[in-house]
Amino acid sequence: MRSLYLWVPLALFAFFAGLAGYMLTQEKDQFVESTMIGQPLPAFALEPAFAGLPGASKADFTGGRPRLLNIWASWCLPCIAEAPQLEALKAQGAEIIGIAIRDRPEDVAAFLSRHGNPYARIGSDPISEVQLAIGSSGVPETFVIDAEGVIRYQHIGDIREADVPKLLAELEKAQ
């Protein structure tokens, strides 16, 4: 019995070594999720991000139907990868309102003419004010906002092909 106890430290060590080894193989999850899900959008009114589309305010999210709020920027590389998926979402009936983070009008215009423009409106957030107010911690992120202006879902990172049906389902759920 006593000699069995002697193995306990070794077993513990093996357990922790194994745990560390296992965690090394796992992808590091650095996402900070918003804790604003279920909360109404804070009041905001942003200037147009470029001359081609109107700006965005909280009022643009209320009434009618759920919408997507896409936090992005022309300097954000994953946003380029996301562009075709936003087009796909738009083609399937989603209304997308963009907020451009720390961006310049000419850069926004250049990005949209190169990668397509799926947005109904784009507000300019030069000091990440609205981004911080809704608990978003990076670009790109996409929120589902229901017709009452309540945040219902957050997608962190670029939208991949497989995420499109998921976001459409979340829009449906927010009806």
Binding site: V32, L77, R102, S128, A133
Partner: protein, 142 residues
């Protein structure tokens, strides 16, 4: 040859910079408040808030654009008369405990504080038993 290598290395190091914006920092990102008392309040608070982009730095320590924007929020809210506790609550309501760079006891973090106490209690228990037994053994031998 070495020069080409060095140039390549520099080019590699410069790559991540492309994924940053070129906008000037927010007004209060790098500018202190004029009132030293308010600035001291803001600095103390900023040291207890985590940068969301570079997660092992406080927003006071980080040069990430987002940390600058967070410092702007802190300073402009302090200037508008909000208390540090209110600003901290505002951020925690948006990002959860994660944004706190100061350990706080909450519904999710209490095991972090409870486990060490538990371990100390267990160790103390074992020690008392062992030392007690040894004394008894010594007594028997005498």
């Amino acid at each position: 040859m070495i020069r080409v290598f060095a140039a390549l290395l520099c080019a590699l190091a410069a790559l991540p910079a492309q994924a940053q914006d070129t906008m000037p920092p927010a007004p209060y990102a790098y500018t202190q408040l004029e009132d030293p008392a308010l600035e001291a309040e803001a600095t103390t608070l900023m040291q207890t808030l985590r940068c969301l982009k570079c997660q092992s730095q406080s927003i006071a320590d980080s040069d990430a654009p987002m940390a600058g924007d967070m410092r702007h929020q802190v300073r402009s809210r302090i200037l508008a008369g909000e208390s540090p506790a209110e600003i901290r609550r505002w951020l925690v309501a948006r990002y959860g405990d994660y944004v706190s760079y100061e350990p706080e006891v909450s519904a999710t973090t209490w095991p972090l504080f409870a486990v060490p106490v538990l371990v100390i209690l267990v160790v103390a228990g074992v020690l008392v038993r062992r030392l007690g037994r040894r004394r008894n053994d010594a007594g028997d031998a005498a």
